[in-house]
């Protein structure tokens, strides 16, 4: 097992460990995620069809309507939220969503260092992302 520690910026406190779901495409939270199933439905998105529930969701940043923040709140309330969020650059839509959904969040992370299905630990106070990879 290889262990890589990535140092980023703490955004929303809390710790989580889970399987990474990594995208290289900005995500539209309002139009792109189904709040009932946690499934990504945005057309043309590289994670289309994947389910964010219980995952460490890694994507560059959000895009689109600011009311997309509320999507993360409702996902959390329905038990469909990701366990944590890792961004390259936090933007207000995702940050506000993570706050109201109480989802740990870290940014300033180079996402090319994380692969989908890696086991990842996010520390929202220290601002670190630890990647565990089988080799």
């Amino acid at each position: 097992m290889k262990k890589i520690i990535l140092k980023g910026r703490p955004i929303v406190e809390g710790k989580a460990r889970g399987e990474a779901l990594v995208s290289s495409t900005p995500l539209n939270l309002l139009k792109g995620v189904d709040v009932n199933t946690g499934r990504i439905i945005e057309e043309g998105h590289d994670l289309r069809g994947a389910v964010v529930t219980g995952k460490i969701l890694c994507f560059p940043h959000g895009r689109g309507s600011t009311v997309g923040s509320y999507t993360l709140y409702t996902l959390a309330k329905r038990g469909r939220a990701p366990k944590a969020i890792v961004n390259e650059l936090a933007d207000p839509v995702v940050v506000v969503g993570a706050i109201i959904g109480s989802i740990p969040m870290v940014d300033h992370i180079d996402l090319t260092k994380i692969r989908s299905s890696d086991i990842v630990e996010v520390d929202g106070e220290a601002g670190t992302v630890t990647v565990f990879r089988r080799i």
């Binding site: 955004i11 929303v12 309002l30 709040v35 309507s65 600011t66 009311v67 923040s69 509320y70 999507t71 709140y73 409702t74 996902l75 309330k77 936090a90 207000p92 839509v93 940050v95 506000v96 706050i99 109201i100």
Partner: protein
């Protein structure tokens, strides 16, 4: 780090309850992110995310929890348009489910103490003074406030404007700091901008080039208020611009330069406007009409009749409709409809039998093909209204 007073710290620690804590957390986190030094009191908040079409069910649940906590807004707060005219819900032909979902959202905002202005031009209802701090969402109103009114606001989103309304303050960064309000790009316009929709086309063109940079625009010959409104709304649609400047002391003119000619505007026009032979709808009122626009529409329509095969819709706030009653009567007698509380972008006009429209708003032309799946053609207010009439 954002410096907090003892009282703000207590709010952040949850001493005043969940709702105030979550609102304070939003403001402090955004403040940290954008390197604000402290929170500053606001004169008013304007909240977007009102129409059920843009808000959806997710937000409703958050608003429900806020309202259930009993919290009320601390700063005067106004609302963006909803999905239908409260007094004429049948015009938009919404399903029962959508009507009820929209009514529920409006009740929740009312419970929170937010005024049901339902307009994207809150400045026609109550004009904020110069040099006051605002927390406004609705990008067209943000540009108008910073550029035309001389008030100060960042480009807020629905949730951050709501949080500001609850706390009565906003983090001090960006447009709230004098040094960040200065022009960054010098724009020279060498083109004949005869009517307001041309200003909109200029805005669409510049927005793409500027991103979030503030332009100093030269070459506009004594533009009218409505032309600046169209320019700002368009700048904020294709770009992230929060302010434009028409004059700046020559000692501080920016180095970076852009020049715009007729050809650039022609290209941008053809990007957003298509040939529409017979529009299903002629639409004026994005952003919502002022008193003087309503008056002008009435003067063009006076003694004429709107054709049977086209709808003429004029959107404004209930306040402006009330104050321009005599002109509204002329428009409606001619067969037009003056709608309040709503706008076509945030409703489902494509399901009301509308496939094509003619408008004077470049912002509408920019959004409607995607938001409403309709074809759009752009023309001046006068041309739009005349086209709606029998020849």
């Amino acid at each position: 780090m954002v410096y907090l007073t003892k009282d703000e710290e207590r709010a952040l620690d949850g001493e005043y309850g969940w709702a105030i804590q979550v609102a304070m957390r939003i403001l402090v986190k955004l403040g940290d992110l954008f390197k604000a030094d402290r929170l500053i009191p606001i004169h008013s908040a304007h909240i977007s995310g009102v129409s059920y079409k843009t808000l959806g069910d997710a937000a409703t649940e958050f608003l429900e929890e806020l309202a259930a906590s009993g919290v009320k807004v601390k700063a005067p707060a106004t609302l963006n348009p909803a999905a239908f005219d409260l007094e004429r819900p049948q015009l938009m032909r919404l399903t029962e489910h959508r009507l009820n979902a929209q009514k529920r959202i409006l009740r929740l905002y009312e419970d929170l103490g937010v005024k049901q202005t339902l307009s994207c031009t809150p400045y026609y209802i109550s004009k904020p003074p110069r040099n006051v701090h605002l927390s406004w969402a609705e990008s067209s109103a943000v540009v108008y406030a910073n550029s035309v009114l001389g008030s100060w606001t960042n480009r807020e989103g629905g949730p951050s404007a709501l949080a500001s309304a609850i706390i009565g303050a906003t983090p001090n960064y960006g447009m709230h700091r004098p040094e960040e309000r200065e022009g960054k790009v010098m724009v020279t316009v060498d083109a004949d901008l005869r009517s307001e929709e041309k200003f909109g086309v200029l805005g669409i063109h510049l927005g793409k080039l500027l991103g979030d940079e503030i332009p100093v625009i030269q070459g506009l010959k004594s533009p009218k208020e409505r032309e600046l409104k169209q320019l700002g709304a368009a700048l904020a649609s294709s770009g992230m611009v929060s302010r434009f400047i028409l004059s700046q002391k020559s000692s501080s003119l920016p180095q970076e330069k852009i020049s715009v000619g007729e050809r650039d505007l022609k290209n941008s026009l053809s990007d957003i406007s298509s040939e529409v032979e017979k529009p299903d709808l002629v639409f004026i009122g994005c952003p919502h009409c002022s008193y003087s626009e309503i008056k002008e529409i009435a003067s063009i329509l006076y003694g004429k009749k709107v054709r049977e095969d086209v709808r003429l819709w004029v959107c404004t706030s209930r306040h402006v409709k009330r104050t321009s009653k005599e002109y509204v009567e002329i428009i409606e007698r001619a067969g037009g409809k003056v709608l309040c509380d709503t706008c076509i972008i945030v409703s489902w006009i494509e399901e009301a039998g509308i496939d094509s429209l003619l408008t004077n708003s470049a912002k509408t032309a920019y959004y409607a093909p995607n938001m409403n799946r309709v074809e759009v053609s752009l023309a001046s207010l006068r041309e739009c209204v005349e086209k709606a009439c029998e020849s």
